[in-house]
């Protein structure tokens, strides 16, 4: 039989979304009291937990510290139960290391690191359940955690994936769509300025299509930023109610 039909003629995707629709995003901030900042975020069935410590003194060797700005230390891991088949190594494999590096680059672009010279900010993210768009869920969760930790940033960092099927860009791919073998583009955006913090793309795509695909990913990221914004203001409301008087 033919492979899965990712986009039906009526314009619906496998899970019933339309091409440009995001999955349902739900998030909570301050889920841990221990950490300086934390957040839990669900993007459909992808669930991520982010924890932020810092800024604090650099741990380990002093040589790592930078004299003019803070070092951002990221660690990405996936729970052993996050995928359909049990994972052997929760972190430290090539994929995770790469992802850690990407996250680091993303947040170095967004956090105002020059405010904290010779110090370190730790961002730990864990994927609890993986259903596509792990990177973007991590970025979004980490953004909320950073906000929770009160670390100044240029803007929210909002990430979203986009794919391309039958001349139509699909926003926010789920696992089935991602593993279908088509193009998958991950974009981390600073929505207000429209600056790109990170852009990554797998598989081949015709140059002509890149613009539409970027456009779709940007729109999706902007959509996400609205959601994150509302989460933050909701959280603030709750906190201010608690701290009144």
């Amino acid at each position: 039989m033919a492979g899965l039909e990712l986009l039906s003629d009526q314009g619906y995707r496998l899970d019933g979304r339309k091409a440009s629709e995001l999955r349902k995003v739900q998030a909570r901030m301050s889920v841990f009291a221990q950490a300086d900042g934390s957040a839990y975020l669900e993007q459909g069935n992808t669930k991520a937990l982010a924890v932020v410590y810092g800024p604090h003194e650099t741990r380990g060797s002093r040589s790592k510290s930078l004299h003019d700005r803070a070092v951002i230390n990221c660690q990405y891991s996936m729970a052993t139960f996050s995928t359909a088949e049990r994972k052997r190594r929760p972190h430290g494999d090539r994929k995770s290391s790469e992802m850690s590096l990407h996250l680091k680059q993303t947040f170095e672009a967004a956090v105002l690191t020059q405010l904290y010279p010779r110090s370190q900010i730790d961002i730990y993210v864990k994927i609890l359940q993986a259903d596509g768009g792990n990177y973007s869920a991590c970025v979004n969760a980490a953004t909320l955690a950073l906000v929770d930790a009160g670390i100044p940033m240029r803007d929210y960092v909002c990430a979203c994936t986009a794919g391309f099927v039958e001349d139509t860009p699909l926003a926010d791919l789920c696992h089935v769509e991602e593993s279908g073998g088509g193009t998958s583009l991950s974009l981390a955006l600073l929505p207000r300025s429209g600056n790109i913090a990170l852009l990554q793309m797998d598989a081949r795509l015709h140059q002509d299509h890149l613009d539409t695909l970027m456009e779709a990913a940007m729109t999706a990221s902007k959509g996400l930023s609205k959601v994150l914004d509302s989460v933050v203001s909701q959280h603030l409301k709750e906190v201010s109610v608690l701290t009144r008087d």
Binding site: M1, S8, Q10, L14, D15, G16, R23, K24, A84
Partner: protein, 895 residues
Amino acid sequence: MLKSKTFVKKTRSGGVLKIVREHYLRDDIWCGSEVCKECKDEAPVLQEDACIESTLCVYPHYLLPDTNVVLHQIDILEDPLIKNVIILQTVLQEVKHRSAPVYKRIKDVVHDKEKHFYTFTNEHHRYTFIEREQGESANDCNDRAIRVAAKWYTDHLAKATWGRPLKVVLLTNDRANKEKAEQHGLLVYKCDEYIKSLIGNPELVDRLALTSDDQVLLQGLQNINRAVHQDVVAVELFPKECWVAPLSVVLQDDGPNDEDAEEDETPNKYLQILTSKSIVRKPTGRVVGIIKRNWRPFCGMLSQSQIKEATRHLFTPADRRIPRIRIETRQAATLVGQKIMVAIDGWPKSSRYPNGHFVKSLGTAGDKDTETEVLLLEHDVPHQPFSQAVLSFLPKMPWSITEEDMKVRVDLRHLCVCSVDPPGCTDIDDALHSRELENGNIEVGVHIADVSHFIRPGNALDQEAAKRGTTVYLCGKRIDMVPELLSSNLCSLRSNVERLAFSCIWEMNHNAEVLNIRFTKSVINSKASLTYAEAQMRIDDTNINDDITKSLRCLNKLAKILKGRRTEKGALTLSSPEVRFHMDSETHDPIDLQTKELMETNSMVEEFMLLANISVAQKIYDEFSECAVLRKHPSPPPSSYDILIKAAKSRNLVILTDSAKALADSLNNATIESFPYFNTLLRILATRCMMQAVYFCSGMDSDFHHYGLASPIYTHFTSPIRRYADIIVHRLLAVAINADTTYPDLMDKHKQAALCNNLNYRHKMAQYAQRASVAFHTQLFFRNKGIINEEGFILFVRKNAIIILIPKFGLEGTVFFENKDKPSPDHSFDSEGPMLTVEKHTFHMFDKVKVTISLDASNIQHQRIRMALIEPVIPGVSVAVAESEPEAKKPKLDR
């Protein structure tokens, strides 16, 4: 806007994977109709005046076909006339899975703007999404989804149109689906019903694919185009105008001079289809090519040429579906009157008959040995003597149980085991025992001959047995599956000798509830080989109180409880008239025949065999879920009960066929006091409604249910001497209890499935051969008896004939009311009754009639029993009571 709904799926890819996918339900999926104001569809597809003129639906309507309609009637849907169709997502997905070409075609249709086909994404719609229920099959779930969507559309459109007539018509050919849809108040039609109702477009009907059966009628030599029965052929269908209707008439055999009216498919099946309306035409066509020949040597007789010196003669095969064959022979004079074997060489374009050559002579026609040989050959029963290679694997005689055997086996020689079998049985494969245990419970043991000990996997003996598949019992002859040394001696659990057995031992309480079960290889020493009658006598005779008798009484008591419980669950008691011939000890001619009598002991043995089979089936399935050889009996399609229901209705009785239990109960209740045989007749009819039970490999199938026995799982374990399936089951069970080693083929489900296919084929052929043998012996019997008058019952009513069953002989025959030579009597047929009125006398099913039976030997190859009506007396039809029979022979029959 978005509603998130997750559901869980399990797939098997190596292991069990739990796949979680999101499933969003939406409320922005529009109905796609122009009429609807509620839906904010920008470009509605379905038109407001959706008019296809139809006598069934005089209002505008949208069609909503189910999956099977799309799959089979895609030709219709592609027609430009058919517009405004709603294709559900469920349907589209199922079509995609089942047939890629049809999927492509339906997608093309949907894309065609002119056609106004709308795809409704029902599974993501908030109100039409359904979840699969516990225990619901995928198909049922899809059917339900279709109904729910149809219901939503109906209600939605009713609201949108403010009562203006615009409706949704569900098209389905599934009977159950249709009924359920009607219960929900949906408009539902069968596809052909609907298409036929269309006004002004009769040509559409031609495109209607035939779903009821895919048989094509080939009529006449021209159209059969030199194809021979069992060939694989390519067929071209005629246009509809040329189709003909098969009649529900029974064709009389008109001797060899008649036109060779012959169908490629089984002709009898056609002829027995009862036509409900006067003209139901069948698709008719002609053969345009022969893909594969399936010629084999045919048995039959020579019809000598009229010209004396001719060397070319025609050969008439015994199988009437095979055309006559022209052969060249110089010994025609000697071959006449003999049964011979002929092979087909070819069929030239210009010739009416195929050409062949003489292979060998089988003996004089009508001779018992010859006829038996013929029927074995015709039914493809391997019956040659066992080859030297096969015999070389037999144990050396004298054989005795060795020390090693004793070591691995449980010694049960002290138990009071006995066997109960039909008289004259030499291959005894089961024996029983029961005894009271110290704790008050009862130990019951079923001991089965350990054939797998002697037949080791893979050797020539095993291969031969696998090929034969089953022992074939003919009247007065037995074609063994394994050599006689095993079947009648070493494996046969005869009395007072030590034999190896495979034992299944239960501990039961007095309520026949199994507390404990044990399977073991054992050594037994049967204390007695009884016949059913002997065992019955012992049980009934209160004076006998030895161990064997006590054990038998106990078994009998338990068996009754078991049977009661089984019946409670819905096991069917069916009936078929079986007869036994009394053979002359010297000539082996049948001298008398009587119907088989069933005693309590029959049922006693049967009950424990069933219990053993079910226990073993469960055990081997638990142990080997992928490669267990099991036996299933599918429940018949509801329509096959029609004849039974009609028959009962004619006597104002109701037969429920919803479940096996309902059927069993209603059969039990269907009795007429003044007509004690009625119930048996009904059961005979019910038997004919059933499907064939078959062997299968558990890894290749998911439906294990045994309908007739009302058991969720079943296999054959108890007759390894005469069935190969049992040997495999023995091997599986032996591995399961660590008594034997496994081998690759045993664990290969594909090889097991192939083996099951062969076994099923052999069993079927063996059954046919058995019937043919009984029929032949019945003829022999009546040849000796002359003409007999006997009472019988009408079993079926056909358009031009009635089929009569004579319970005394278990014989079926046909009385015709049409004649070639003379004008036939005035008769009319009503298929609803069903009844046949001949000259003002109406025949119903189950009517009692009196007939005279004689042997019609006019056609030497196909001798048959002829029946003529004596009572009721119908002028011109019935005959006078025959007096010509020799008085001397009569007393024998009147017993």
